[in-house]
C-alpha cells in the first residue's frame, strides 16, 4: 500500500475544525478567554507557587460561584435540544428552596424537627422532597406543553410568574431556620478546598453526557428537536420524551435549590434565581446549542457556562464597572449565534 505523507497544515486544520465543530470553536474561545484572564491576573508574585495558588484559587471561586447555574444549564441544554425552552427555572428554584427550608427548619415553628426527626434523616427527607418537587413541577410543565399544546415559552412563562408569586406570599409569615449541619452539603471541605458544588456539577455533567450519547432517551431528545414529525412517524412517543425532558430540568433545579440553601443558609424569595433562566440559556447558546433544536451537546453547555464565567471574572479583574458587565454577556451571546449562523452555510 502506498503511503501518502500529508504535511500537517495548522491553518487548514484549524479552519476545518472551526467551521465543522461547534464544540471546537467554543473550546478555542474558552482557551483565549483563559489566557486573557491569566494575563489580567498578573504575574507579580514572589514565587511560582504563590502565583499558582492565587490562580487556582481564583479558578475554584469561578467554578463554585457558577456551579448552580451550571447545573441548570445542563438541563436547559436538553430542553433546548428537544426544541423547547424553560423560563421557569429561577422561580422553580425559589419554590423548591422554600419548601426545602420548611422541611429542614429547626426554628421555633419547625414542622418535622419538632416531631423528633433531626440531623441526617431530616436532611435526606429534605433532599428527596426537593428533587421530587422539582421533578413534579417540571412534569407539570411538560403536561402543559404536550397535552395542553401550549408553546413552551408560554407554559414556562406562566409557571415562572405563578411559582415566584405564590412562594413570596406564603413565605411572608414563615421564616424557617436552616440547621448548620445542612450547610455541610455545600461547604464540606475536600482537603482544604471548598469544592463540593464543583464536584456535584462535574458528576451530573458526566452522567448527563452519557445519557445524551448512550441511551435511547438521549437520542430521542435529538430526534424530537431536529424533526418532531419524523420522530413521531418512527413510533417515538414524542410527548413522553418532552415530559421527561422537563422533569429532568426540574430535578436539576431541585439540586440547585439544595445547593443554594446549603451555601447561603437562607433565601431571598423576591430575587434569588432571577435571571437564572437567561444565564442558563445564554450559556447553552454560547456552547453551540441551536435554538431551533436538534443540535448541541452537554459538553457545549459546560463550556458555554465556563466562557461566561471566565468572562465575568476577567471583567472583574480588569475593573470594568459592574453595570457594564451584562453588556459583555449580551455581546458574547450575539457573537456566538452569529458564528453558528455562519456554520450553517
Amino acid at each position: 500500500m502506498e503511503k501518502t505523507k500529508v504535511k500537517f497544515n495548522f491553518i487548514t486544520w484549524f479552519k476545518k475544525n472551526w467551521t465543522e465543530s461547534a464544540l471546537f470553536s467554543t473550546g478555542v474561545a474558552l482557551f483565549v478567554m483563559v489566557i486573557l484572564q491569566t494575563v489580567a491576573l498578573g504575574f507579580e508574585f514572589d514565587s511560582f507557587g504563590e502565583w499558582f495558588a492565587t490562580w487556582a484559587n481564583n479558578w475554584i471561586n469561578i467554578l463554585r460561584n457558577n456551579a448552580g447555574v451550571g447545573i441548570v444549564a445542563l438541563g436547559m441544554a436538553f430542553v433546548i435540544i428537544s426544541g423547547g425552552i424553560d423560563l421557569a427555572v429561577g422561580s422553580t428554584m425559589v419554590a423548591v428552596g422554600a419548601v426545602l427550608m420548611m422541611i429542614i427548619d429547626n426554628g421555633p415553628n419547625a414542622l418535622l424537627a419538632s416531631t423528633g426527626i433531626t440531623g441526617v434523616p431530616l436532611y435526606i427527607i429534605g433532599i428527596v422532597v426537593a428533587i421530587a418537587m422539582g421533578c413534579g413541577l417540571g412534569q407539570l410543565t411538560g403536561v402543559l406543553v404536550t397535552k395542553g399544546k401550549l408553546p413552551p415559552f408560554i407554559a414556562t412563562l406562566g409557571m415562572m410568574k405563578i411559582l415566584r408569586s405564590v412562594t413570596q406570599h406564603f413565605m411572608q409569615t414563615n421564616s424557617p431556620k436552616v440547621p448548620t449541619g445542612f450547610l455541610q452539603i455545600a461547604s464540606l471541605k475536600m482537603g482544604n478546598l471548598l469544592i463540593m458544588p464543583i464536584i456535584y456539577w462535574l458528576v451530573i455533567a458526566i452522567i448527563l453526557y452519557i445519557v445524551s450519547k448512550k441511551t435511547a432517551f438521549g437520542r430521542y431528545v435529538y430526534a424530537v428537536g431536529s424533526n418532531e414529525r419524523t420522530a413521531k412517524l418512527s413510533g417515538i412517543n414524542v410527548g413522553k420524551v418532552k415530559r421527561k425532558v422537563y422533569a429532568l430540568i426540574g430535578m436539576l433545579v431541585g439540586v440547585t435549590a439544595i445547593l443554594q440553601v446549603s451555601r447561603i443558609g437562607s433565601m431571598d424569595y423576591a430575587n434569588a434565581g432571577s435571571g437564572y433562566e437567561m444565564d442558563a440559556i445564554a450559556a447553552v447558546i454560547v456552547g453551540g446549542v441551536s435554538m431551533s433544536g436538534g443540535k448541541g451537546s452537554v459538553m457545549g453547555a459546560v463550556l458555554g457556562m465556563l466562557i461566561i464565567a471566565v468572562m465575568n471574572n476577567l471583567l472583574n479583574l480588569l475593573g470594568v464597572p459592574p453595570f457594564l458587565r451584562e453588556a459583555f454577556k449580551g455581546m458574547i451571546v450575539i457573537g456566538a449565534v452569529l458564528l453558528q449562523k455562519k456554520e450553517e452555510n
Partner: protein
C-alpha cells in the same frame, strides 16, 4: 384577444421537457391542458406566465410576437396565472388583498380604504360576486379565495387566465360555484387555460383540449368530439411499458381488516382487507384521502371512527407507538419532512425505530445496533461511505432505503409505503420494487400508496382506487390498466 404559443422548446440540463409544443386560445374559450405528472404542463404555463424562459419558440398576442422576461411582463400583456397555492394573505381583508402591493393612497399618504373598497365592489358586481370587501380572507372557503384572485386579475385587465388545478382541493359544491364563475368570465370574453386531471370536469366545462405527453403535444381539438376515455388514452399513450412484475404468489391469512373507517374531513366508510404476502395498491389523485387514511391506520390520526382488525383481533390504534407495537411499519411520503432526521447520521436514522429494543439495561447496545443495521444495509444494497456520515450525504434513493431499513429491522407484519419512489431515480426505483416483491415473498402484507398508475400496475396484486375520500373501485388482473385506473380516479364509472 388571441394567444398563440408556437414551437416551444425547453430543457433542464439533459432533460427535454418541452419538444416543440403549440397551443392557441381565443377570448371566450376554455382550453383544457391535460397530461400526466411530468408531461410538461407546468413548464409550458410557467413560460406563458413569465416565470421561466423558453429555449426557443414564439408567443404571439393578436398576431404580434411578445417576450415575457418575468411575471410582470406577462401580467401587463393581460395574462394572469392563478397557482394552486393561492397567493392571498389570510389576515387581511378582501379589499386589502385586492390592492396588495399597489395600495391606493390619499393626499396625506395614508391608505385610501374608501376608494379601494369601492373599486373592489365594482369588479365584484361585474362578475356577479356577492361578497363584502371588508370581510377577512381567512373566513372564506377555497372557492371564494380563488374568486378573489380572479377578481384581482380582472382588475389588472387580464384577458387570459391560467388556472392550475383549481378544483383539486374543493368540495363538489364549491366546484359547481367555480364553474359558474368560469362561465360568467367566458361570457365576458375572457380566455382560460384549465389544468386538471379530472376528465369528467374537463368535459363539463371546457370547449377545447390539448394533451401533452413527455413534452410533446399528442392531441388537440374540440371537446365535443371526444369522450373521457379518449382523453385518458391520449394522456397515457398506448406504448407505455407497464407490464406487471410476475411472481409466485403465496397469499396467506388476513393480517389487516378495516371496517367502515371514517375521519370527519379526509375519508369515509373505508372497508378493506389485506393478507399475508399480498401487495395491495391504493391510488387516486391529489386530495383522495389515501395518505390520511393510512396515517390513521398507523396511529398518526387517532380521531377515527370505525374498526381496525389485525390478525382478526380488534385494535384501537391511538398513537404511532401503538402502531409500531402492533407490527405496522410506515414509510411516509415527503422523505425530507417525514422520513429522515437531517442532523443525525446514517446509522442513527437507520435504527431510530428499534432504539428502544436495542437498549439493554441502561445503554444502547452498539454492537447489536451495528449488526442489525449491516444486515439491512446488505439486503437492501444501500450504497454509502461511512455509517457515521450525515444522512443528507446520501442520494435520494439511498435515503429512502435507509427509511425502509429502519422499519424492516422492526420485523413488521404490515408495511405501508406512501409514494415509495418519490424523488428516486429510475434505477433505484426498480430496486425498491424488487425489495417490495421480496418482502411480500417473506409473508409481509404490503400496502403501496401511489399516484402513479404505472407503479401500481408494476408491483401490486390488486389495487383500490379512491376519489374524494371514498373507495370507488377495485382493479386487478386485466382490469388493472391505466385507462381504467384513470377513469375511476377522475370520478368516472
Amino acid at each position: 384577444m388571441k394567444l398563440e404559443m408556437q414551437n416551444i422548446y425547453k430543457s433542464f440540463g439533459a432533460n427535454n421537457v418541452l419538444k416543440g409544443v403549440d397551443i392557441s386560445l381565443s377570448g371566450g374559450e376554455i382550453c383544457a391542458l391535460l397530461g400526466e405528472n411530468g408531461a410538461g404542463k407546468s413548464t409550458l404555463m410557467n413560460i406563458l406566465g413569465g416565470v421561466i424562459n423558453s429555449d426557443s419558440g414564439t408567443i404571439l398576442i393578436d398576431g404580434k410576437p411578445v417576450e415575457f422576461k418575468n411575471p410582470v411582463d406577462s401580467l401587463e400583456a393581460g395574462i394572469a396565472f392563478i397557482h394552486q397555492e393561492l397567493n392571498l394573505v389570510n389576515d387581511l381583508a378582501i379589499f386589502e388583498n385586492m390592492f396588495i402591493g399597489r395600495e391606493l393612497k390619499n393626499k396625506y399618504g395614508f391608505l385610501d380604504a374608501k376608494t379601494m373598497i369601492k373599486k373592489t365592489k365594482e369588479i365584484f358586481e361585474k362578475i356577479g360576486l356577492e361578497l363584502n370587501p371588508e370581510q377577512m380572507v381567512r373566513d372564506l372557503d377555497t372557492s371564494y379565495k380563488q374568486f378573489i384572485e380572479i377578481a384581482r386579475a380582472l382588475m389588472m385587465n387580464a384577458s387570459i387566465i391560467i388556472m392550475d388545478e383549481p378544483t383539486t382541493s374543493l368540495t363538489e359544491h364549491e366546484i359547481k360555484r367555480v364553474f359558474a364563475m368560469m362561465n360568467v368570465l367566458k361570457s365576458h370574453g375572457v380566455g382560460m387555460v384549465f389544468i386538471s386531471h379530472k376528465l369528467k370536469e374537463v368535459v363539463e366545462i371546457c370547449n377545447k383540449y390539448t394533451v401533452l405527453r413527455d413534452g410533446n403535444m399528442v392531441a388537440t381539438g374540440e371537446i365535443k368530439d371526444v369522450t373521457t376515455d379518449d382523453l385518458a388514452k391520449h394522456m397515457v399513450g398506448h406504448d407505455v411499458r407497464t407490464e406487471s412484475l410476475q411472481r409466485d404468489k403465496e397469499i396467506g391469512n388476513e393480517v389487516l381488516r378495516l371496517e367502515r373507517l371514517t375521519d370527519v374531513t379526509h375519508f369515509r366508510d373505508i372497508s378493506l382487507n389485506l393478507r399475508q404476502g399480498e401487495i395491495l395498491g391504493v391510488t387516486g389523485l391529489l386530495g383522495d384521502g389515501r395518505s390520511e387514511l393510512f396515517q390513521a391506520v398507523f396511529g398518526d390520526r387517532p380521531k377515527y371512527t370505525g374498526d381496525i382488525y389485525i390478525d382478526n383481533q380488534q385494535v384501537k390504534i391511538d398513537s404511532t407507538t401503538k402502531g409500531l407495537d402492533l407490527g405496522i411499519a410506515y414509510v411516509p411520503r415527503n422523505r425530507k419532512e417525514n422520513g429522515i432526521i437531517k442532523d443525525m447520521n446514517i446509522l442513527e436514522n437507520g435504527s431510530l425505530v428499534t432504539l428502544k429494543r436495542l437498549q439493554k439495561r441502561f445503554f444502547i447496545d452498539r454492537k447489536k445496533q451495528n449488526t442489525e443495521f449491516d444486515i439491512q444495509k446488505d439486503s437492501l444494497k444501500i450504497k454509502m461511505e461511512k455509517k457515521l456520515d450525515l444522512i443528507t450525504s446520501l442520494s435520494g434513493g439511498n435515503q429512502q432505503k435507509i427509511v425502509l431499513a429502519k422499519w424492516l429491522s422492526s420485523n413488521p407484519k404490515i408495511l405501508i409505503m406512501d409514494n415509495p419512489t418519490q424523488g428516486v431515480d429510475v434505477g433505484a426505483k426498480e430496486e425498491i420494487y424488487d425489495i417490495i416483491l421480496k418482502l411480500a415473498g417473506q409473508g409481509v402484507g404490503i400496502i403501496v400508496l401511489s399516484s402513479e398508475a404505472q407503479e401500481i400496475i408494476r408491483v401490486c396484486d390488486r389495487s383500490l382506487v379512491m376519489y374524494h375520500g371514498a373507495i370507488v373501485g377495485e382493479v386487478s388482473g386485466e382490469d388493472m390498466n391505466e385507462q381504467k385506473i384513470m377513469r375511476l380516479a377522475t370520478g368516472g364509472k
